[in-house]
């Protein structure tokens, strides 16, 4: 029984961490242009400051 407690804590915290990352990614418009991103990964010129694709 006692061995379960840390496991539960780890899964819950892990899940919450994943959730925070996901919400951050969505708010950063990382899901706004899936098709474009699929192509951009093939480009050789690296863009440090990509614009906002939300439009």
């Amino acid at each position: 029984m006692e061995s379960i407690i840390p496991l539960i804590t780890v899964t819950l915290l892990g899940g919450l961490l994943w959730l925070v990352i996901m919400v951050w990614a969505i708010r950063n418009h990382q899901y706004s242009d899936p098709e474009g991103d699929a192509h951009r990964i093939l480009q050789t010129d690296y863009d440090d400051e990509p614009g906002d694709p939300s439009a």
């Binding site: 029984m1 379960i4 899964t11 959730l19 996901m22 242009d33 474009g36 192509h39 694709p53 439009a55």
Partner: protein, 709 residues
């Protein structure tokens, strides 16, 4: 003060949006972004390939035309979009909100599943209770937040005393949560928190896909809306000034030149020219007009400069009246119930009835209220329409994506299903099957020297017949004759001096050849030597394949045009179409469509002119090439980018395939219910069985839908 003026860089940058339909790869992205960021006034550029848009932040003073020019020079076709109106119709915040809900539901689903596995593997006593309490602790807040879209939608329809799919969904989620909480408090054996979360997660996925499909459709519609010319040249105190069309009053004089479209109805006070009526009437032959003639908004000027006294202001113009007619036609169109809606209207009451039946059956048989409620909840969860809620959106999302990639923009969300049911296609001639650009019919018997003179006369003119002659001469590699004093007389023809003799190319009565009935142009080579040039409309590339494809799919093809009987019959003969109607006015077309839509199956209308727009709005489904006027594009339910009409049968084939997938998915869901519902009724549906059954059926329909991609 100086410091205030140069306050911040950000305050002086504005947003510019362009729709670019013809970009599709990593190379396009780099080329466009590199070319645009090279402009000094541009601050940042970002291509969105999913929506086919470019968002540019640049100095507010930048002329949009300069940016458009840069895109054109890179090799793409930009459509300027109004950033504010795009933001109004944008569903981005909505889709982001849904994605966050989906993420949270996924988090809850995954965690509760871990606890459930412990219970399924045989946990007893306090361990099971702990797992149930933990599940409740995670599941209840997650459900309260993530399932809100279903609750709100169910509440909305219940207020109107109606049922939709969200009512059984909400009921299942709420009842399952409540019952599970009660069982947990009683140290009971079965809790359905995992099933409730699975429902929320799967159905939110379906909702998200559905929104994406609608967003694609809506952004396509936004890209195509209203790019009307908004200013025109008018005479004010003897000077030419540009004014918005809305401000021009009746009695004012406006000036239009070759290459313009007439913005308002009026009467010609000065000048003469040749007008193209093809958008208005479907007639391919240019019309000559002179002082005193009436002109209507929408006519295109090939040659000449006209001063027009406006007889009707913009609010009353014939173009505006046509738009009204289209709106009226649209409101009279039969409301179409989608397959999913029809399925839902049977499904929702049936689910409630089954759950009630299970509840009362077990209550009378055992007298145990708690057991009966558990059975009813199990039935509600098992029958919950995961497949319906996920299968249809997944298929339409995959299909819309495929349409989008092959340059078909779907504006009407129901268009896919209607396209699948098309039984007959009504096709317009000028501008749709033909290009509306004349080419020379036959020149045999005309001396090369005559051709050389005609080509030289025609070289500088913008009249379509002149351009046809010039192109023909250039293609035949005949050197042009040398002429002096070439003068174009708009509305009549072109004259010049060749070998000290006057030569004329133009209308038969002006040239002096007497009047003939044909749509021909005559050349006079000094004295009484006449040559006749006849023209036919050039057939669009892919027209033959389009007609053949439609006929192969078993679709009845009908040709309907406002052009002369002679021209329509000739085209019908070459294309092998038996049913054709000529000299059809817009009202005739609409009446014809009305008659056809009353028959079985869907009627497709393909057209591009203003004269087709009302008929298109009235037909079940309509397709227009993107070269059409905005009025027509607004009326159409599908827009074809580019001019390859052979994509139309392909699109119908694809839509039929999509419909078959949806029906397959219904069958899969039906089979699953046929097995699972009796089990639930018999009280054999444990939470484990429910979780397995629900996941497998959802995954099965999703995989089947993905075959569309």
């Amino acid at each position: 003060m100086i410091a205030l003026d140069s306050s911040s860089e950000a305050a002086r940058t504005g947003e510019f949006l362009f729709g670019v339909q013809d970009m599709h790869c990593a190379g396009c992205i780099s080329a466009l972004e590199r070319a645009l960021s090279a402009l000094p006034e541009v601050v940042s550029v970002r291509v969105n390939l999913t929506n086919r848009r470019i968002r540019i932040l640049a100095d507010t003073e930048t002329e949009p035309e300069r940016l458009a020019q840069c895109i054109r020079e890179t090799g793409y076709t930009p459509i300027q979009l109004d950033a504010d109106s795009i933001r109004l119709v944008s569903t981005t915040p909505q889709s982001q909100g849904l994605l966050v809900r989906l993420g949270i539901a996924g988090f809850g689903f995954a965690n509760v599943m871990i606890y459930s596995v412990v219970v399924w593997s045989g946990a007893e006593g306090t361990t099971r209770d702990l797992m149930h309490w933990l599940s409740a602790f995670v599941a209840l807040p997650v459900i309260a937040y993530a399932a809100q879209p279903f609750f709100l939608s169910a509440l909305r329809v219940l207020r109107n005393f109606r049922l939709n799919m969200d009512v059984p969904i909400s009921l299942a989620i709420i009842l399952a949560s409540g019952q599970s909480l009660f069982e947990t408090a009683q140290s009971g054996q079965h809790a359905y928190f995992d099933a409730a979360l699975a429902l929320v997660f799967f159905l939110l996925s379906g909702r998200y896909l559905d929104l994406q499909t609608r967003m694609t459709a809506r952004s396509a519609a936004a890209q195509l809306s209203a790019i009307e010319p908004d200013t025109t040249t008018t005479l004010a105190e003897g000077k030419e000034v540009n004014r918005p069309i809305g401000e021009i009053t009746e009695g004012a004089t406006i000036i239009v030149r070759s290459g313009d479209r007439i913005p308002l109805d009026g009467e010609i006070t000065t000048g003469s020219g040749d007008l193209d009526n093809s958008f208005l009437t479907g007639e391919s032959r240019p019309e000559s007009v002179k002082q005193g003639d009436q002109v209507v908004a929408g006519q295109f000027i090939h040659t000449g400069r006209l001063e027009i006294k406006v007889t009707r202001s913009s609010a009353n113009s014939s173009l505006r009246r046509l738009v009204k007619m289209i709106e009226l036609a649209e409101s009279a169109r039969n409301r179409y119930t989608t397959l999913a809606d029809r399925a839902a209207s049977i499904y929702a009451p049936a689910v409630h009835l089954l759950a009630l039946l299970g509840f009362f059956g077990w209550l009378t048989a055992t007298g145990d209220t708690r057991l009966s409620i558990n059975i009813a909840v199990a039935i509600l969860i098992i029958t919950c329409p995961c497949a319906l809620g996920l299968a249809v959106p997944a298929v339409s999302a995959a299909t819309t994506g495929r349409f989008f990639r092959s340059n078909l923009l779907i504006k009407d969300p129901d268009a896919l299903e209607k396209l699948a049911g098309v039984r007959r296609a009504v096709l317009d001639k000028t501008g749709t099957l033909t290009l509306g650009i004349p080419i020379i019919d036959r020149v045999s018997g005309i001396h090369p020297q005559a051709l050389a003179v005609a080509g030289a006369l025609a070289a500088s003119s913008r009249h379509p017949y002149a351009q046809a002659i010039h192109n023909h001469v250039m293609e035949s590699a005949i050197p042009l004759a040398t002429l002096d004093k070439v003068v174009e007389i708009p509305g009549s023809g072109i004259t010049g001096i060749w070998n000290d003799q006057e030569v004329r190319l133009g209308r038969s009565d002006w040239v002096g050849a007497g009047s003939t009935g044909h749509s021909a142009t005559w050349l006079r080579l000094g004295g009484d030597v006449f040559h006749e040039f006849r023209f036919i409309d050039r057939i669009r590339s892919g027209t033959r394949e389009c007609i053949k494809g439609l006929q192969d799919l078993g679709i009845e093809t009908i040709l309907m045009s406002g052009d002369t009987e002679e021209a329509v019959r000739a085209l019908a003969d070459t294309l092998d179409i038996d049913q054709w109607f000529a000299t059809a006015r817009p009202e005739d077309k609409m009446a014809m469509i009305d008659k056809l839509t009353r028959q079985d199956g869907m009627t497709l209308m393909v057209g591009d002119g203003i004269n087709d727009a009302a008929a298109m709005a009235r037909s079940d489904i309509s397709i227009t090439p993107s070269s059409a006027l905005d009025v027509t594009r607004v009326a159409a339910s599908v827009v074809l980018v580019g001019d390859d009409v052979s994509r139309i049968p392909e699109a119908i084939h694809l839509a039929r395939l999509a419909k078959r997938r949806v029906l397959e998915n219904f069958t899969i869901a039906g089979c699953y219910n046929a097995v699972a519902v009796p089990l639930a009724m018999a009280g054999l549906a444990t939470p484990l069985a429910a979780a397995i059954a629900m996941s497998t059926s959802s995954i099965a329909v999703t995989l089947n839908s993905m075959r569309m991609r």
